[in-house]
Symmetry: D2
Subunit: 366 residues, 4 copies
C-alpha cells in the first residue's frame, strides 16, 4: 500500500486529480452478494456535489458515477468494484500565478517539496474532489452495514462560533438545512454568520459529529488497530480536518474517574452502560453503545482577500485567489465523514470475523 | 498485519500481557548501521517505569530490557531487533472478583465480547504494560531520527483543570517535575489538585503536547497516509487517549481563513511560514515548521471508591478496586506519546525515500 | 490488500472482467519525475493483444490504453496512475450452457464455491484479459528500471515437446517469430507441432524463461520477501502457470554441492561469480549476476473436442467449447511474465532504499 | 511489513540469528479458543532438531520452546503468541576466515551488498535456524487446521538421483526412515548415495512433496493472492529452495489440454474431479481435491572440499569449510515445508471468511 489505499480487507484505492480526466476508486474485498446499483452510490455523491447552496462552490458538475466492474446481475461478485466520475467542468484557462505560487493553507509548497513538482490545476491530487472516490466507496460500505443493522449519521454541531443546542437536537433537521445542522435555529444563526464571512471575503470552520448506531460489541483490535485509532486515521486523512475526539474527548481530560467511568448496568437482561462518556469503545473495542466522535474542520484556505505569500522562484508576492470556492467546508464534508466511518467500520467488522475459533467452525463446518 | 503490528517499513510488533512471562517487541525494518545498545533503550523505559513518584503505581519493576537479536558489534544489522522485558513482579494472588467482573472504563467486557474469554490478570493485553514494547521500539526510532537532526519532545500542558502558562514555557522544567509539565508553577498547582483526587479516592486526566523539531518539508503521503492521519492513529492506539489535534486543532473550527492561514515568508532566503496554525503539515505533508500536536488523556479508570457494575454472569454488583494504580496516566504516557511519534515519523521518512526518481538515481547510481 | 493489489511500495491494483465495461489498473507509489506517455504502455499491451497470429485468439480488440491520472506535462507526479482499456468486442450473445456448466481446467466451479455465484461471461475476472492491467503497470515499471540500467526479457524455451537449442540462442529472434522462441529452428518445429494440436482440436503448454540484466547486488529481503520468493508469487499469480524455478531450479535437486556452488571470482577487480547455477540470488538477495528463472505454462483448458463435465445443477453433461481461444497460452503470456518481473523487481528496489542508514543520510542530508 | 513478517490475518514475524541469544517468532491473529501448549509446538520442532541422524548436523541443541504470551489457561486468547528458543550451543570460537570470506552458495556476499556488513557468526540471520520460528508458528496453524479437518503432510520424493516408486508409496514409512521418504527401498538406496557424498566431502539435494488433505473448495483469491501463488512464495522463502510446482507442474508444459484437463464428475452426489493434474487449485482457488505441490531443494552449500572464492578485501582465496553441517538439507526441511504450507493455508482460510455477505450474516446475526 502506497498511500492511496486504505483498509486491510475492505480496501479502497482512490485516484484522480481535480482537473484531470476523472476521479475514481477501486473497492476490493467487498463481500459477494450485496445488491448494488449506480443509484445507491449516486445518492451519496449527490450529497457532496458542488453548487447545492450559496455556501458551496458554484462549479457545476453532475458527478455522475459509473460502475465499471465487480457487479453482475445487480449484485457484487466479490471482485474489485471500479467506480469512475469523469470530470466535465475543467475550465481550460491560464492558471498563471497559481501555477507558480504557494497558496497559504494549501498543499502547493509541500507537494513541490515531496515530489519536485506538481499538477497545479485546481489543487491536483489535493483537491476536495479526491473525496469523490471515498464517498463512492463509502456508499457501498454503508449499504452493506445497513443490511447488518448498523447505521451511520454525521451532522454539523458547530459552524464558526455557532453551536447547536443539544436539547433541540433533531437528526432529521440536519438533512433539511444547507449546513447539515440538526437544529434549525442554530442553522439560521450559522447562515447569518456565513453571510458576514462572505462579506469579509473570509471563510470559517466548524465541527462535525458522527454517530454509529447498531454497532455490535467486540469490534476493533486491542492494540494498534483500535476502533478509535482507525477512525482517527480515517478522519485526519480527510483534507482540512485538524482534530478528532471520541466520546467526551478533550473534555475527558478535565473530568475525574468517578464521573468519566460509565457504569455497566443490566437492561432487559442485557449488559449495557448507564452513560456513554467513552463514546462506544473500551480498550479500542466497541462496547455495544453508539459510537460517537467529532472532528474539527479548518476554515477554507482559499479566500479572496489579498494574502502575503511566496512563489516557486522564492520571491515574496501578494496573492488574491479568484474562482469558485466554498466559504465553508463543513456541509460537503459531512458525507465524507460518514463514508470514511463506514469504510473503517466495515473493514474492522471483516477482520473481526476470525477473532474466535468458534467463528471458523461456523463457516467451515461440514 | 493483525492488529499488533504498526508501520509499513519500520514495523513494530508488540506482544505480552501484564502478568504473563514478559512484554516484548520485534522491530523490523530498522536501517543497518545505527549504533545501538541496551542503555539507549533503557533510558526511555526508565521514563515510563512505575514507582517514580507518589502519582504513579507503586508496583516496583526494574523493567530491564534485553536485546535478543538484530544488533551485532554495537550496530543494527538491518534484521529484526527483538526486545524483551521479563515480568518480575507478578504477584501470585487470587484475582477473585476481578476475574469475573466488568470494571467500568476498562476493556474487560469488550475482550469477552470479542474473544469469548480473556486473560483477566492485571488487564492482560490491555494493560498499560503493553506500552513497554512501544517505548522500546520508539527509543530506537528516536535515536535514528536524532542522527538526521530530528528531535521529538512531549510534555503535559494540562493536568485536570490546571493548564500551563504558555509565557512560562520551559521545556527543561518538564523533566524536573514528576508531572512532566514545562512550567514549575503549574506543576505545583497540579500536584495540589492530585492530592485532592487521591483524598477523594478519585483520578484525573490531562493533555499531552508533542513537538517534532527538525522535520524536513515533504514527509507524509497526500491521501490516506497523511502525516497527521498516521500520527492520529498512532496516538489513539495508546490506551486512555480520547482525542487528537494538530496545530490549532479544535480551535481552528472557530477561526477564520484569514487568521488560520499561515503566510509563507522568506527567512534567510528559505521558505518558511510566518505562523504555525497548521502545526507543521499542509495537505498531510510536513511543511518544514515544527510539527505540534496534542492528545487528551482520560482519568485513570481504576479508582478505589465503590462503583456499580455487572459481572460475567450478568448480575449487578458493587465493586471496589484494590491494588496499585496510577491516580493519573499522563506522566507515564508522555514518553509513550513521544515514542509513537518517533515510530510514525521514521516510518514516513523511510517510505518517502522513493517519492522521487531522483532519489533512486542517487542511491542506485553506478 | 484484498487479493487484487500487489506490491508494498510500488502497488498495482487491477480490476475488470472479460466482458464487462473495461479492464484497468491503478499504479500507486510510482516515483515522481518519470517521463511517461500512453505509447510507452501501448507498446507492451500490443505484445499481448489477441489476433496477432493463427496461434492466438481471433477476438479483435485494439486494447487501447488511456492514462486517466497521475501524469502531468509528460511526467509521473508520484500520485496514482489510473489506466483503463475499455472493452469493445464483447459480443452480445447467449452464454447458454457456459453460464451453468463447470468447464474442466477453468475457475467456474471454484468461483461458485468461493462467492456463491459468478460473472460467467467469458471467464469474468478469471479471464486472461485481467492481465491487461498487469502489463500496463509492468510497462511503467520496466521503463523506470531501464533508466536505472535494469533490463528484463522473457521468451519461450519450450512449446509442448519442442525445446530450444541453447547453442542457437538468439534473443532478437524471439521477437521475430509468433511463438517468442529465441531459436528460429525450434520455432519452426513448434509451429508444426501446434498445427497438429489444432487438427486434433487440442492445445499445448510450454516454458517461459525470463532474464533480468543489470540487477545490482543487494536487492531482496533475507526472510519472507526474498527476491526469488516474490518472483515465485508474482509468477504463480498469473493464470495457467503451474511451476517456477530459479537458476538451475529442479535440476539442482539432482546436483551436488561441489557442482552447484558458484565460485566467487574477481573480474576487473569486481566480485562476480564464475557460474550462475543460483540464478542471480543468494539467500534471497540478488548477487549481481543476471537473475534467470523459468515458469511452466499449462495447455489452454478451452479445447473444442467434447469433454465430460458437470453443471451447476449437479448433472453430468458433455461439453463442446466453441468460440475464440488460443491453442497455446505461451506467446501472449511472455510479456505478462516480463511485466510481473518488472513490478516485483521495482518494488524490491524501492523497499531496499531504506536498508542502510547511509542511504537515509544521502537523501536527507542537509 | 518489512520482510520478516508473513501473512495478512494470521501473521508470523520471525527474529533471531544462528549464534545470537535466541530465535523466536510472534504469531498474531491466531483465533481465540484453540487449546495449545508447549508440547504441541515442541513436537514439530523436534522434527527439525539437529543431530537426529548421521545425515544432519551434529550440533546438539534441545531447541526447547517457551510460550511467552497469548495463551491463558491452556487456550489461545486471540492476542500475539510469542515463542522463543534460546540458543544454547553457540560455541565461542574464532570465526577467523569465515568472518571475512564469501562462502560460495551462501548469503555472505549479498548481505554485505545490502546492509554494508553482517553478523557472520554461523550464517547469522540466513542460517537454517531461522526456520525454528516458522516451524513453531506452523505447529499452531497445523493444530488449528486439524480441528477443521485439514491435514498437511510433506515427505521426500527424491534424494539426489534416487526417486521414490509411486507404487510403493507409504506415508507412514516417511516417518520411519531418517530421510523422510515414503518408500523404504528408496530410502535405503538414498542412504547409500549419501554415504558416497560424505566420502567425497560433497553434498546433495532433493525434492519434497506436500499434500493438503481436507481442503474445502473455494479457498484462495483469484488474482494476486492465488492459493498456488501464496504457496509458491512461502516455499521459495525457505532457504535453499530453488523451485516450486503444483499438480503436474513442469510436466504440464509438455502435456495437452485433453490430457491435462481434469473432468468434473459426481461422486455420491458431490462434485469432484476424475483426475488431479491441477493439484487441487483452479484459477488460484482450491477445488476440493487434495492440494499437491513439490519443491526442489539445492545441495547443502557448506562442503568440506576446498573451494575457490573471494574475501571481503577482494582477494582470491581457497576455502575449506570446517564445522557441523548437514550433507543434505531435505530431511530437516520437510517439516519446514509442512509448516509454511499450514501458515499459508490458514491465512487464506481466515481472509476467505469475508468472501460472501452470507458469511457476515451468519456471524453477526442478531
Amino acid at each position: 500500500m502506497s498511500g492511496s489505499t486504505y483498509g486491510k480487507l475492505f480496501t479502497v484505492t482512490t485516484w484522480g486529480e481535480s482537473h484531470g480526466k476523472g476521479i475514481g476508486v477501486v473497492v476490493d474485498g467487498c463481500p459477494a452478494g450485496l445488491e448494488l446499483n449506480e443509484a445507491d452510490i449516486q445518492r451519496y455523491l449527490d450529497r457532496r456535489k458542488p453548487g447545492q447552496s450559496r455556501y458551496t462552490t458554484q462549479r457545476s458538475e453532475a458527478d455522475a458515477v459509473q460502475i465499471l466492474s465487480g457487479v453482475f446481475e445487480g449484485k457484487t461478485t466479490g471482485t474489485p468494484i471500479s467506480l469512475v466520475v469523469f470530470n466535465t467542468d475543467q475550465r481550460s484557462h491560464d492558471y498563471g500565478e497559481l501555477a507558480t505560487c504557494y497558496r497559504p493553507g494549501h498543499a502547493d509548497y509541500t507537494f513541490d517539496a515531496k515530489y519536485g513538482f506538481r499538477d497545479y490545476r485546481g489543487g491536483g491530487r489535493s483537491s476536495g474532489r479526491e473525496t469523490i472516490g471515498r464517498v463512492a466507496a463509502g456508499a457501498i460500505a454503508a449499504k452493506l452495514l445497513a443490511t447488518l443493522g448498523i447505521d451511520i449519521h454525521a451532522y454539523a454541531t458547530a459552524i464558526g462560533p455557532v453551536t447547536i443546542d443539544r436539547n433541540a437536537f433533531d437528526l432529521a433537521e440536519s438533512l433539511n438545512n444547507p449546513l447539515g445542522m440538526p437544529d434549525a435555529a442554530a442553522a439560521t444563526a450559522a447562515q447569518e454568520y456565513l453571510e458576514l464571512c462572505l462579506k469579509n471575503q473570509d471563510s470559517c470552520g466548524g465541527i462535525i459529529e458522527c454517530t454509529i448506531n447498531g454497532m455490535p460489541a467486540g469490534i476493533g483490535d486491542p492494540v494498534f488497530d483500535k476502533l478509535d485509532a482507525n477512525l482517527a486515521k480515517s478522519m485526519l486523512s480527510i483534507g482540512s480536518i485538524k482534530g478528532f475526539e471520541i466520546g467526551d474527548g478533550f473534555a475527558a481530560a478535565t473530568s475525574t474517574g468517578s464521573t468519566n467511568n460509565d457504569a455497566f448496568i443490566l437492561t432487559d437482561g442485557s449488559i449495557t452502560k448507564a452513560t456513554n462518556h467513552a463514546g462506544g469503545t473500551l480498550g479500542g473495542i466497541s462496547d455495544g453503545s453508539p459510537v460517537v466522535f467529532r472532528v474539527a474542520v479548518k476554515p477554507t484556505p482559499s479566500i479572496s482577500q489579498p494574502q502575503q505569500t511566496v512563489n516557486c522562484s522564492g520571491e515574496a508576492i501578494e496573492l488574491s485567489i479568484k474562482g469558485r470556492h466554498d466559504p465553508i467546508i463543513v456541509p460537503r464534508a459531512i458525507v465524507v465523514v460518514e463514508c470514511m466511518a463506514a469504510i473503517t467500520t466495515l473493514d474492522l467488522l471483516l477482520t473481526n470475523m476470525s477473532a474466535k475459533l468458534e467463528h471458523l467452525k461456523q463457516i467451515y463446518d461440514r
